[in-house]
Symmetry: C2
Amino acid sequence: VNMEHQHLRYNPLRDTWVLVSAHRMKRPWAGQVEKPPEEHIPRYDPRNPLCPGNTRANGEVNSDYDSTFIFENDFPALQPDAPDPGSDQHPLFQSKAARGICKVMCFHPWSDVTLPLMKKHEVLKVIDKWAGLVEELGTKYPWVQIFENKGAMMGCSNPHPHCQVWASNFLPNEPALSDRCQRAYYKKHGEPLLLQYARQEAEKKERVVVENSDWLAVVPYWATWPYQTLLLPRRHVLRITDLTTGEREGLADIMKRLLTKYDNLFEISFPYSMGWHGAPTGTHLKEDNSHWHLHAHYYPPLLRSATVKKFMVGYEMLAQEQRDLTPEQAAEKLRNLPEEHYKTREN
Amino acid sequence: VNMEHQHLRYNPLRDTWVLVSAHRMKRPWAGQVEKPPEEHIPRYDPRNPLCPGNTRANGEVNSDYDSTFIFENDFPALQPDAPDPGSDQHPLFQSKAARGICKVMCFHPWSDVTLPLMKKHEVLKVIDKWAGLVEELGTKYPWVQIFENKGAMMGCSNPHPHCQVWASNFLPNEPALSDRCQRAYYKKHGEPLLLQYARQEAEKKERVVVENSDWLAVVPYWATWPYQTLLLPRRHVLRITDLTTGEREGLADIMKRLLTKYDNLFEISFPYSMGWHGAPTGTHLKEDNSHWHLHAHYYPPLLRSATVKKFMVGYEMLAQEQRDLTPEQAAEKLRNLPEEHYKTREN
Ligand SMILES: O=P(O)(O)O[C@H]1O[C@H](CO)[C@@H](O)[C@H](O)[C@H]1O
Ligand SMILES: O=P(O)(O)O[C@H]1O[C@H](CO)[C@@H](O)[C@H](O)[C@H]1O
C-alpha cells in the first residue's frame, strides 16, 4: 500500500472522503503566521470574569471556588424560552424553534494551568462534572454538547481553563449524521462501528498515540486536521454518564498524556477544539442506542509549527477536505514525543 | 414571524440546519483580533512568483502577460498520475485513488488590484477564462473546482489577484451532497431548486444584495457565515460554459458591484473564499443534469469589523453551525452600502 501519493480515505462516521496529499508538506509557506499563544498568564487577574470571586458582565459574583465552577453563559446562543419562529412552510424557507441552555465550566481556580498541567485528581473532578452535566441536562434535552475551545486561534476569548456545555431541544447536524452512520453500520455488521474500530486500531498500532487498559487515543484513519485525534473507551460505552470509576481514572490518565504530547509537539500550549459525542439523551434515553459508542474528537489547527496552521478554506469549503501529511505520520510524531510536559521539564 | 430570537433554518443544498442567534451580537469580544489586510502592495514585486516575467519555485519563467495568466500549481494537491493506494477492503479502512490537476490563474498583471478595482472588460476576461478552463478540463474530469482564497486570513499566501482551479477524477463531498439535494428536489417539485429559489428571492427582496437583468446576489436564507452570499443567474444555466455573452457581461457587472460592497463594509480589501458550483462534467456531460443550476458561493469570515472574525470552532465543528446576526440584517447592511469603491472615492 503506497500512502506517499495522494489518495482518498473514507470517514465512516460522516460518510465523506478526505483527500490526503502527503507530498504537499514540501511546499514553502509565505502566508499568514499566527501569534504564538501567550505564555505568561497571571494565576489570578482581577479583571478576568472567570476567576474565583470576580464579578461577571451581568453583575453576578463568582464563588470563591477551589476546584471546578459551573455557571450559565452570560451571552448564550441558546436560551430556554425562545418563541417558535413560525415558517412560511415553503420547502426553501424552513425554520424551526431552537431552545436550550449554555453553561460554562471552569476547570480550575488558577488561570495559568491547563488540563495537562493539572493533577490527575483535578482532571478526574472535571470528568465527574462532565458526567454530572450530561446526567442533569440530559433528562430534558436530546443533545448535550460538551466542548472546549482552547487558545485564541480557536476563538477562545479567555485564557482561564474552561469548557462549555450547550444543550439543545434538537439533535444538531453533526451528531445526527454520526447517529445515521453508526446505526447503518450496526445494522449491516452487527457490531458498533467505533467498538470494532477501536479493536482494529489497538491491533494495528500504527495510528495509536497513547493507550491504557481502558482507553485508546488514535489519529483516525480519516483524520482531516493535521494532528486530529479520536479518544475511545475499549469497553462498549454509550454515554459519559456510563463510565465506571476505573474508566474515569483511566480517562484522566490518557487525557493528561495526550494533551502533554500535544503541548510538547511545538512546545506551546497547543490550541484545539474538542468535544464529546455519545448516544443522544432526553426522549432517546428510552430507545435502543446500541449502535453508539462514546468518543471525544480533538481538532487542533496547527500544521507545521506554533505559528503555521492548516487553513480549511477554498477547496475544503467548496469541495472536500484536504490534508498535507498522512495520519500515520502524525500519529508517529505524537507517539514519539515525551510524556513529561515541556514546562515541568524546564524546571 | 419573529426572527430576533434564536431559531433554526434549513439549508436545502446541504440538508443541514443552521442555528441563528441574533441576540448574540451584543456580546463583547475580548478574543483574538486579526491583522487588517496589507493596504500598500507594490504593483510589481521582483520576488513575487505570480508577477509577469518572474521566475517561480520550479525555475519556470512567467510570460510577460498583460491580462490573465494560467499555469500549473507548483505544489499541487492533485497530480495526474498518482498510483492506486490499494485498500485492505475493511469497511473502516477504505481508500481510493485520487487523480487530478491543479492550476493557478492570475487575474491581472498588477499585484495592487483586486476584482472590484479592475475594469469591467478585465473581469469579463477572467470569466471567459474560467469558462475555458471548465471546458478544457471538463472533457476529462468529472469535477472542476474554481475557487479564490482572498486575503491572508483565508490562507492565501500571495497578495497578487489570482484564483485556483483543481480538477479531480472524483466528485468531491460538497458537490456530491449538493447534487443529491438538487436531484431530490427536482424529482419532488419538478423544477430546479435554485431556479425556484432565485425567483422567490427576487420577489421577496429582503435578502437581495445586488441584482441586474441576468443575475441576483443574495444572502441565502440559510447563510452560515455572517456576510455569506450566493450568486445566481436568473435563467436556468447548468454550467459556467453555458453562459451567453450577455450573461457574462452581466456577471462582470454584478461581481464588481458585490465585491465593491464587500470592500466598503469595513473599508478594507474584504477577505473571503469563493467558488463555482455547476453541473458535473466528464462522463456526466452525457447525463441529464436538469436538476443543477449554476451558482457561486462567497464565504467571508469577518463578523464585526476588519479585525474580528466569526470563529467556526467547538460547537460549530462538533454540533452545528451558528450565526450571530440574521441573513436579513446582513443583506440590509450590504444593500445599503455605496456602489462606489472606498478607494476610488478617496481620490
Ligand atoms: O493557495 P495555497 O497556498 O495552495 O493553499 C491554500 O488553499 C488550499 C485550498 O483551499 C488549502 O488547502 C490550503 O490550506 C490553503 O493555505
Ligand atoms: O466561547 P465564546 O466566546 O462564546 O465563542 C466561541 O465559541 C462559540 C462556540 O463554538 C463560537 O460560536 C464562537 O464563534 C467562538 O468565538
